[in-house]
């Protein structure tokens, strides 16, 4: 419990830091950000949009602390203003659709790479010096060296453009509208193969290598010898004794990689025009849609914080030492 409280405190500080950063950045810019923004838009801006920008930044005539409080108040009410690029859609509407796709893609690809990577790690450690143990570490390390988005580009080119096995872009076929039907789900799955696949290929090696190095240590422990001496079946020693203990460092890593994946995924979403938060973030930056951009940055941060907290809950459940301390 103490551990959870400590972690929660940390996440609150992180959330506050992100909020404040969002508030301070436009103000730290030289000159008046709203005016410079308006001049950058070269007159293609409506008066109500100017008001929207001012509101999004919390630029009122009061002193700084008052602006800060107004800004916090607006954020807590989920009021991020109106998007400039897709005027007059509310920023919060864009976020709620984007968030779904980002979390779906992120969680699916992370889970696959986590499960596959750990199983591979257990397997190659169990057969130390075997064929898989000689080939896989080098191969997957090399795969892991590719930038996420580059591998995504190459896969898009090969499997979608040249071979036509998978669709080129978007999260589901354009003619469908979101519904809980088999055709729709099928379409979503087919559209997810390449983006998720590229993330898995790059990240699976890391899980495997960590698992391998922890497993090597765990396997030399006495309780493994004991389990073997008792004549327990190999599979049981492998999973219930060795893997169960060796997986802990990877679980800690899991929360952290959610952040990395959500970040790296931003580029993947770009490549596949996948309608997640990252895709919208880049779009917002390119169209200089500040209110959308700020809200998206906050949302991605919050998603990572919540995900980390869930992992913490899981960790407490798995490691009794944390529960006690």
């Amino acid at each position: 419990m103490k551990y959870l409280l400590k972690q929660m405190g940390l996440y609150l500080v992180a959330a506050w830091a992100a909020l404040t950063l969002n508030f301070l950045l436009p103000r730290a810019m030289p000159g008046d950000p709203v005016m410079s923004l308006i001049s950058r838009m070269r007159g293609q801006i409506k008066p109500e949009q100017i008001a929207s920008i001012k509101a999004a930044f919390g630029f009122t005539d009061g002193p700084l602390w008052q602006q800060y409080l107004q800004y916090l108040n607006a954020v807590f009410h989920g009021d991020f203003g109106i998007s400039i690029s897709s005027y007059p859609v509310k920023v919060s509407d864009i976020i709620s659709t984007g968030l779904f796709w980002t979390i779906l893609l992120g969680v699916v690809s992370l889970l696959i790479s986590f499960i596959v990577g750990n199983l591979l790690g257990v397997f190659i450690t169990w057969r130390r010096g075997g064929v898989a143990d000689t080939i896989l570490p080098g191969l997957l390390t090399f795969m892991g060296s590719f930038p996420y988005f580059w591998l995504a580009l190459v896969m898009l080119f090969l499997f979608a453009f040249k071979l036509g096995w998978f669709p080129l872009r978007h999260a589901y076929a354009d003619e469908l509208s979101p519904a809980f039907t088999w055709t729709f789900i099928q379409s979503v799955l087919v559209h997810m193969v390449l983006p998720a696949g590229s993330v898995v290929l790059v990240s699976v090696g890391g899980w495997m290598m960590t698992m391998r190095s922890t497993m090597v240590g765990v396997l030399s422990e006495d309780y493994i010898v004991m389990a073997e001496a008792k004549g327990l079946p190999q599979r049981m020693v492998m999973f219930a004794y060795a893997m169960r203990n060796a997986i802990l460092p990877n679980i800690t890593q899991f929360g952290m990689s959610l952040g990395f994946i959500l970040s790296g995924q931003l580029l993947t979403e770009m490549v596949f025009s996948y309608p997640g938060l990252g895709f919208y973030l880049v779009k917002a930056v390119n169209t200089q849609d500040y209110s959308l951009m700020q809200a998206l940055f906050l949302m991605i941060t919050l998603a990572v914080l919540v995900a980390n907290f869930i992992v913490d809950l899981l960790y407490v459940r798995l490691d009794p030492r944390v529960r006690a301390g």
């Binding site: 500080v13 169990w126 988005f149 580059w150 453009f161 493994i224 952040g259 959500l262 941060t301």
Partner: protein
């Protein structure tokens, strides 16, 4: 220096014994000479050296300006343009060679800055402990948790574009991982006898940190530096690909930006996409190999595994699961 003596009797081969008998060198740099005997490290060093030479001798390898339009756009690789031309009719090979300068320059400079920053913050937290540690650790954890690329994009948006901006932004967002490692290591080293001895003999804090503790983390610093270089090169390429850098300067990232901009995929111009990506991947791979090798050389458990591996190979013992127990000859 403590040399682990292997308690398995088969391990007493001439090879191992000669290692034990050899006079100890400067322990701090021992890892370096050991690394040079490791094929992983050699592969890594050779690949890195090739790319560094390519960057340094770019004017010799590809004497013409990489931004010059040399011929028809989107030409497939031919004898004249061995990597083909871009969507704007520029020579891909020349761009790749010249691009190494900015990409590697940004990568290594940022790597160095990140390492310095994380060393300063991590060691301060680890050495002074107390409230200093509390504040710095919280900051470290916050930076670890805030997703990097969105923050990078947001920062890059507000600051004036340019290579220096990218280097600074990458350093500010990338120090946390290293700081955590250095803090932990400083906390451990601080409890060691040699530090206590230095404290008792009245050494200044500055001397203790930089002459007693820091030299004992050399390999960790090097490994963290390489890790930061990988991070910087990747993040730099990502930002450039999105168009958040000065895209008129040639780098591997901006090559990918232009490839995307000229819809290289749809025109089938794969030769504009492969070279920069492969360059980034090779550099990252080489650097990862160096880190693995460094880890193997400095981690006693992994090191002894390697030694035992070679012994087992000598006796044609194929499979083996656990690491044999090692004992120190004398007390630790």
């Amino acid at each position: 220096m403590n040399i682990p003596q292997i308690s398995v009797t088969e391990a007493q081969t001439p090879e191992v014994r000669s290692k034990i008998r050899r006079a100890p060198r400067l322990a701090q740099f021992d890892w370096f000479t050991r690394m040079l005997r490791d094929p992983k490290a050699v592969i890594g060093l050779v690949i890195l050296a090739i790319f560094l030479l390519m960057a340094v001798f770019a004017p010799v390898i590809a004497p013409k300006d990489p931004n010059r339009i040399v011929g028809r756009a989107n030409q497939a690789p031919t004898a004249k343009f061995i990597f083909g031309t871009t969507g704007q009719g520029k020579d891909v090979f020349a761009q790749m060679v010249w691009g190494a300068r900015l990409s590697l320059g940004t990568g290594f400079l940022t790597g160095a800055l990140i390492t310095l920053l994380s060393l300063a913050l991590g060691m301060t937290a680890g050495y002074f402990r107390g409230w200093v540690d509390g504040v710095l650790s919280t900051a470290t954890n916050v930076f670890l948790i805030i997703p990097g690329l969105p923050l990078l994009i947001t920062l890059a948006m507000y600051l004036p574009p340019g290579a220096m901006t990218i280097i600074i932004v990458l350093s500010v967002t990338g120090w946390a991982w290293g700081a955590r490692v250095f803090r932990a290591q400083t906390l451990t080293l601080r409890e060691k006898d040699f530090v206590s001895a230095a404290v008792v003999s009245g050494e200044s804090t500055f001397n203790i940190i930089f002459r007693e503790i820091l030299p004992n983390m050399t390999s960790l610093v090097v490994s963290s530096f390489f890790g930061s270089v990988i991070y910087a090169i990747g993040a730099d390429a990502g930002l450039a690909f999105l168009g958040f850098e000065n895209v008129s300067i040639v780098s591997w990232g901006t090559m990918l930006f232009w490839a995307g901009n000229n819809s290289a995929l749809l025109t089938g111009a794969w030769w504009t996409i492969l070279p920069p990506g492969l360059c980034i991947a090779l550099v990252a791979f080489a650097t990862t190999m160096l880190i693995y090798s460094l880890d193997e050389v400095t981690n006693p458990r992994l090191r002894s595994e390697k030694e035992i591996d070679s012994v087992l190979k000598r006796f044609h013992i194929r499979s083996r699961r656990s690491t044999p127990v090692l004992r120190h000859e004398r007390g630790g």
